[in-house]
Symmetry: C2
Subunit: 213 residues, 2 copies
């Protein structure tokens, strides 16, 4: 019933964030809130909030604001969060392990069900309930488990090669932490988190602020 054609990327990001925040508030016993309250929590404007929530098709009952439970449910639907999706993580290094142990405690609809490495000393280790397989078994395992998504945390110069393996294994979405843009067909959605760049950006704008004062 939802699904116009095309919710903006930025809105999707914010919806995911609203959902997490709202779930937290619900657990604290809060039942209703207004756009300006959510705006306060998330550090943006009430207008933005309303426009974002509009995309979910949820209709509040005006005077009392949004009913948190229903809203969360509606965001779930919108984000297709109702469907379970399985994730593979490739590269059990420092970052990979951090993400693995963090993420699998958090989530419901998404979970990391297998990890891969090319280092034999890591194969068969179990971290956060998730076993590490050798990279050579990647395709078989992904097909066997019906895994849809992947997180890449291998060194930069291996990222493209790993991405291509994931592609031929049938993965449709990749989140890449390696500092290298991936060349992939449009039939795969891929996004990158570039921590170094993010720090450099903070450095730039912080130093700009310092100069202006």
């Amino acid at each position: 019933m939802n699904s116009k054609k095309g919710i903006p990327e930025k809105t999707i990001e914010r919806l995911a964030m609203y959902r997490r925040l709202l779930s937290g508030l619900k657990e604290k016993g809060l039942e209703h809130l207004y756009s300006h309250q959510l705006a306060e929590f998330t550090r943006n404007t009430p207008a933005q909030i309303r426009r974002d929530l509009m995309m979910t098709g949820y209709v509040s009952n005006a005077r009392k604001g949004y009913t948190i439970g229903d809203l969360v449910k509606k965001i779930d639907e919108t984000l297709a969060g109702s469907q379970r999706q399985k994730i593979a993580l490739v590269g059990i290094g420092n970052l990979g392990r951090a993400i693995l142990s963090y993420f699998n405690n958090q989530h419901s609809a998404l979970s990391i069900v297998a990890s891969f490495d090319n280092d034999d000393t890591k194969v068969n280790r179990v971290i956060a309930g998730c076993r590490c397989y050798h990279i050579k078994d990647l395709e078989a395992k992904i097909k066997e488990e019906g895994i849809d998504l992947a997180i890449i945390t291998v060194p930069g110069h291996h990222a493209q090669e790993v991405a291509e393996k994931l592609e031929s294994a049938g993965i449709t979405g990749i989140l890449n932490f390696a500092p290298v843009p991936l060349k992939l067909p449009d039939s795969i959605y891929s996004d990158r988190i570039d921590i170094t760049t993010a720090i450099e950006k903070v450095a730039y704008f912080a130093s700009k602020i310092r100069k202006e004062l």
Copy 2:
């Protein structure tokens, strides 16, 4: 000589990325490249590249494309990367340690010079050449070392409190990994990396692609 008023955030991010990529290419012996080559490497359009590089004020010599060395230097200037900035990292957990050991091997103008935790068992440990101090010494240490920036990797419910400590210690830029938006005055630039949200976004668009095919 550069510094119009206000290079867009997105451009700053891309410039930082171009710089890293170009530095790599230079080390491999490449001296010149065209906007369409850099576009190929970074997975975007030549027009975008040219527009971004325009902001640095660098002028290429038409027929041969950009001289990589000079271009990197110009990006350095633009990103104020010439000035050294010191960084503090708060929260030596899984993620904090991963970032610390990664980042301090990488960079020249930016480095993490101190870390902080409230867990006594972590205090005084040295990771990647960086000593961990007790959080109660945060303000003193930051002032003593002249630290400008901070990375927050503490659990969500401590992030705001830590951010406020950083604020009163005089920090002007924060990169926050906790899944909580921070309330801070405009005199501090703060950005957030939200890994969970990023995965959810990939899940959304990947499943959208699957449906459309």
